[in-house]
């Protein structure tokens, strides 16, 4: 038993933190936040050069072949830096779907491009409000083409390709759903950027009109693959959320030490101290759940579905908790655009929804625990 990352993995974390501190300062995040550019292309290139985009992609497909524990380490740092790049959509969703269900040819085509930063990928799952559910998927596949609308699609306006969930049957079962790969630059798809609470991670509406699509995985397997992709992405995104929680806590702590009111640093008032202590508690519980999730992800353990839901829930709660109270600690300053607090608050609340809402994952967790412990 060992419930910690290895020394090599920690070195990788240090390298990633150093790189991101330098290449992704708040100023860079603001370029995207202010709408000047849709994402940080320089940073994206740098991440590719560092080998971070392909860290969990096998070497035969152009990646570093390190593994998923290493990817968790990178994910945490991406969250800490609030990196304004399509990392989660490309690496956690598109790449994972390809790794799980892609044919050799599909992997050969897209994975090296992901690793090198040439291609941005995403998952087109949702069609308006609601949570992941086979019933909610209306977009129709027929004769190798797709017709319908997907929204919100994370990074949909800048993505080069998408994994699309479509309806291929009408039996009312999960097997009505199949996955497709669509080259978004090949025509038949119109992308419209959508305003969202976190501009540093874009959302879009994709309209498919006779868009050419090739099947990803066997027909009718779509829902089962999606479930696995979402579980894997849940652990990875949870690490981003933990990184963000830690950073928000740190910002709050630092401000509390510097800011003087009533002749004392505000960090000497117990109301502030206890608020920060509670932030630490939620971030720590989330981190611990995530370590278990990382182990389950990296070993493909039978515990993964339950561990993924637990990681997702506690990391979502922690990031929301830490980022909102970071603003509170900052008082009026925290509510200004100038201060960085709201970037984390935005990211926390956007991340809370991108793979399905908190209540959806609560539902998933209980279902999974119940399967393991029948009444």
């Amino acid at each position: 038993m060992n419930f910690d990352f290895s020394d090599e993995q920690k070195q990788m974390r240090d390298a990633a933190r150093k790189f991101l501190t330098e290449k992704c300062p708040p100023k860079a995040v603001r370029e995207v936040l202010d709408g000047k550019v849709p994402y940080d292309t320089e940073l994206w290139k740098g991440l590719a050069e560092m080998g971070f985009l392909g860290v969990a992609i096998p070497e035969q497909f152009g990646g570093a072949g390190a593994g998923h524990l290493e990817l968790c380490v990178i994910a945490e740092e991406m969250g800490r830096a609030n990196a304004p790049v399509p990392f989660s959509s490309t690496v956690y969703l598109a790449a994972e779907a390809l790794l799980l269900a892609g044919s050799d040819a599909q992997k050969q085509k897209w994975l090296p491009k992901i690793a090198s930063g040439e291609a941005i990928g995403t998952l087109a799952l949702f069609e308006g409000k609601g949570n992941p559910s086979p019933k909610a998927i209306k977009l129709q596949a027929s004769g190798g083409t797709l017709n319908g609308i997907k929204k919100p699609v994370p990074d949909g306006a800048i993505a080069d390709f998408a994994v699309v969930a479509a309806r291929t049957g009408s039996t009312g079962r999960d097997s009505d759903i199949s996955l497709f790969l669509v080259d978004l630059k090949a025509g038949g798809v119109e992308a419209k950027p959508l305003t969202n609470v976190d501009p540093t991670r874009g959302q879009a509406e994709l309209t498919f009109t006779k868009a050419k699509a090739e099947p990803l995985g066997a027909a009718g397997d779509g829902w089962s693959i999606l479930t696995q992709v979402l579980d894997r992405a849940a652990v990875l995104l949870a690490f981003e959320q933990v990184g963000g929680s830690d950073r928000a806590l740190e910002m709050g702590r630092d401000y509390a030490l510097d800011r003087i009111a009533f002749g004392r640093p505000i960090g000497s008032f117990q109301a502030v101290k206890h608020m920060l202590a509670d932030m630490y508690v939620s971030a720590t519980l989330a981190r611990s759940n995530c370590y278990y999730g990382a182990w389950a992800l990296s070993t493909n353990a039978a515990e993964l579905p339950e561990a993924a839901a637990a990681s997702r829930i506690s990391a979502t709660q922690a990031f929301q908790h830490c980022s909102k109270n970071n603003i509170q600690v900052h008082g009026g300053m925290g509510f200004t655009w100038e201060f960085d607090c709201h970037m984390y608050y935005r990211r926390a609340n956007a991340s809370a929804l991108t793979l399905g809402s908190l209540s959806y994952w609560e539902d998933q967790l209980i279902d999974r625990m119940r399967k393991k412990n029948p009444a």
């Binding site: 038993m1 702590r253 101290k273 519980l285 611990s288 759940n289 967790l365 625990m369 412990n373």
Partner: protein, 414 residues
């Protein structure tokens, strides 16, 4: 990151499992499994005797106080081996409740400060449960503010004469020995005038009066000292250095990790999983699921936090403040869980008898015990202060009493 046993750990686990299966008092297994925080009842048996017998058996076979050195009655086991043992011991571990203070706090303090001869004399019977120890720190004037205590120790020849009163002393009524923090110099600031001792609870002048707790049980006591004599050889640490000695005790309290503070979650899940509400199974109700999921991730978060602490310990790192988190989170959680479980029972939730209440009154017992959990061993507020100051590096509270001689500190509020 590896949650599987290494071959050595697997071998240790197999050995522990085999021994437990051959030796544990299985006749009580079901009752122990069902018991909860605040209620451990064995029908037709004296739990103290059952616990002592189990502890003795463990000690004879080398399964008591696993991490202690062998010469003091332990096994010299690694932190991970301790966890494995606890996992395997399962419900029988609940029998160790009355030894926790001795094993977790008093033993390690003796190990750090007693003479070699004394350690060999007192520690093995403590490990084997033959002798029970208690911790005599808190006083009416010194709970959170431990250093505010007033029990006096005055040197007379080779002895010390003790006068004063302790309160909330768990298990004092069945304890053989205790570690005792006293004031030896009231003319200096409060942290600088304390001295630590250990003593025989049967010494003349020691009077133990059980206190009935809010829960209705009587696990703690008032202890009065009237001219109690303690030989200087039973002093732990230097005269007036008792504060540092007590910090060792309190650090070790944190170190007795892995035991896993009760959260009430497994009980709540099991309950909801079988409960029928008017509209169907409770576990299918949306709001029930949401509450359960919230508690589930807190409980698992605590479990893995303590495992992370154990991993750090195995690598020789010092124990962090993880255990402050444990009690802080679990204390409130068990209280909320109990309230929620009663809420689900509606009007009948008010009943608490073994026979009439759902699941033998488990949640009612938890409800009534929980307030104590949030106070004992440091209140929620003190835990938050510890995290804020020692982990996050925030300034200490403003202290008006720190540099004032003890006998000049105000004693009345308002």
């Amino acid at each position: 990151m590896n949650f599987d046993d290494t071959p050595q750990e697997a071998a240790f686990r197999a050995e522990a499992r085999a021994w437990i299966s051959a030796n544990a008092p299985k006749q009580y297994e079901e009752e122990l499994r069902k018991s909860s925080l605040g209620r451990t009842v064995l029908k037709g048996a004296n739990i103290l005797e059952v616990a002592k017998a189990w502890q003795k058996k463990k000690a004879e076979a080398g399964w008591a106080c696993l991490h202690w050195p062998k010469e003091y009655g332990g096994r010299g086991a690694s932190p991970i081996e301790r966890v494995i043992w606890q996992q395997e011991e399962g419900p029988f571990g609940k029998l160790s409740g009355m030894f926790i203070i001795g094993h977790g706090m008093c033993g390690p303090t003796m190990m750090a400060y007693a003479g070699e001869e004394q350690k060999r004399k007192y520690l093995p019977p403590l490990a084997s449960g033959e002798k029970i120890w208690c911790q005599l720190f808190s006083e009416p004037a010194g709970g959170s503010d431990v250093a505010g205590l007033r029990t006096r120790a005055e040197k007379k020849g080779d002895d010390w004469i003790i006068n004063g009163q302790k309160i909330w002393t768990s298990g004092a009524h069945y304890s053989d020995y205790g570690i005792l923090l006293t004031r030896t110099d009231p003319n200096v600031p409060k942290h600088k005038g304390l001295t630590m001792f250990f003593l025989d609870m049967k010494s003349p002048g020691v009077e133990v009066r059980p206190i009935k707790q809010a829960s209705g049980q009587s696990d703690f006591n008032e202890v009065y000292f009237t001219d109690v004599k303690i030989p200087d050889s039973q002093r732990l640490g230097a005269v007036n250095d008792g504060w540092n000695v007590s910090l060792t005790t309190l650090m070790n309290e944190r170190m007795s990790i892995g035991a896993g503070v009760a959260t009430g979650f497994p009980e709540l899940f099991e309950f909801c999983n079988s409960l029928m509400l008017e509209d169907g199974p409770a576990i299918e109700d949306r709001s029930v699921r949401s509450r359960l999921a919230n508690y589930a991730v807190k409980a698992s978060g605590l479990r893995y936090t303590s495992m992370r602490a154990i991993s750090a310990l195995s690598k020789g790192e010092r124990p962090g403040p993880e255990n402050s988190i444990g009690k802080l989170v679990a204390g409130s959680m068990v209280q909320e869980v109990a309230m929620y479980a009663l809420d689900l029972q509606g009007a009948a939730g008010v009943l608490s008898g073994l026979e009439d209440a759902e699941v033998a009154g488990k949640f009612q017992a938890m409800l009534l015990r929980a307030p104590g959990t949030r106070v004992e061993g440091g209140t929620d507020e003190i835990m938050r202060n510890i995290i804020a100051e020692r982990v996050l590096g925030l300034p200490g509270d403003i202290r008006v009493d720190k540099d004032v001689p003890f006998n000049q500190i105000p004693t009345k509020g308002r």
